[in-house]
């Protein structure tokens, strides 16, 4: 191989090697849209209140006496909310992320 050809091959190889190294060094992780979160994935407050509002007539009590006491995400777009329905009685509400109540049952 002539000297010029060796230089060309060497130069091209160097470029390719640097590109490979840079690709390996590049941080491909994307920054999340939010920078803070809670350790436990509870339901958004408005969904919890939607459950309380839906449960009140079912249990024959005023909405102001139904209080969400815990919640958690159960699937990608589903939450379960535990409700205190006056005097310690509890109910379970399943609600989706669009605010549609799927089910309300006794806890």
């Amino acid at each position: 191989m002539k000297t010029a050809e060796r230089r060309t091959v060497f130069g091209l190889g160097t470029v390719l090697l640097c590109a490979a190294v840079l690709a390996g060094c590049t941080n491909t992780q994307q920054t999340p849209n939010q920078t803070v979160r809670s350790t436990y994935d509870t339901a958004p407050a408005d969904l919890q209140l939607a459950c309380a509002n839906e449960a009140a007539p079912i249990y024959g009590v005023g909405a102001e006496t139904v209080l969400p006491i815990s919640s958690k995400r159960t699937q990608d777009n589903l939450y379960t909310v535990t409700l205190d329905v006056n005097n310690g009685r509890q109910a379970l509400c399943t609600i989706d992320s669009d605010g549609n109540v799927v089910a309300i049952t006794d806890a």
């Binding site: 979160r37 209140l49 205190d84 605010g99």
Partner: protein, 221 residues
């Protein structure tokens, strides 16, 4: 003595409810560390460092208008203690969302109360059980005058259950870096700019709904 027993009962009740629901501590805040690409605990030292570096708390805790679908009337306050947000309900399914600090383990609570009274640059009188826990507060047994060093900050909304003071407040703070943390004795902390904004909107009698997973239910004093 009554307050000490009450505090002990609240702590025990909180732990009992927490264990029955599978929780042993309140939900905590995490912050995304861009350098490591990991979520890390947003603890007091992290929070103080962040505030010193950026001059404010993380972006999510800044005041903003957000969608909020609810049947609650405009003017109602909804506190999501788990996510460290306070919502002031507006018309048209919107709310102003503020970042807050909430009660530390054993001092969280949930319930439905209302704003009994309001005060600007309030005097702070630590309860007897708080003085017992921290004797340095003895000099304030008769009240600390309002001002920038006062833990209640620029404004206070006193929360009542029927006609009785619950002893809980929504108030400002002299430690703005604590927004997003679980450090208080049960009161809801806001930075002073936010609490002034909220104070100017809220009327006496406004309904306040406090949501906190696993916390003891407020049943009155």
């Amino acid at each position: 003595m009554r307050l000490t027993i009450r505090t002990l009962c609240l702590a025990i009740a909180t732990l009992a409810v927490s264990f029955s629901m599978g929780f042993s501590s309140p939900t905590q805040t995490q912050i995304y560390d861009a350098r490591s690409g990991k979520w890390v605990s947003y603890d007091p030292s992290q929070a103080r460092e962040y505030f010193q570096r950026y001059g404010q708390t993380p972006e999510e805790f800044q005041r903003r208008i957000v969608p909020f679908r609810t049947a609650e009337k405009p003017g109602t306050i909804v506190i999501d203690a788990d996510r460290h947000f306070l919502y002031y309900i507006l018309p048209d399914f919107q709310a102003i969302r503020y970042g807050i600090g909430v009660g530390r383990e054993g001092f969280g609570w949930a319930g439905i109360v209302h704003v009994g009274r309001k005060a600007e640059w309030p005097t702070w009188t630590p309860p007897k059980d708080m003085i017992e826990r921290d004797p340095r507060l003895t000099k304030y047994a008769n009240g600390m005058p309002g001002g920038i060093d006062n833990p209640l900050g620029a404004r206070a909304l006193y929360l009542y259950e029927k006609n009785r003071d619950s002893l809980y407040r929504i108030h400002g703070t002299n430690e703005p870096w604590t927004i997003g943390l679980n450090l208080s004795s049960g009161c809801i902390r806001m930075n002073n700019d936010d609490v002034i904004d909220l104070y100017n909107r809220v009327t006496r009698g406004a309904k306040v709904i406090v949501l906190m997973t696993g916390a003891s239910l407020f049943k009155g004093v």
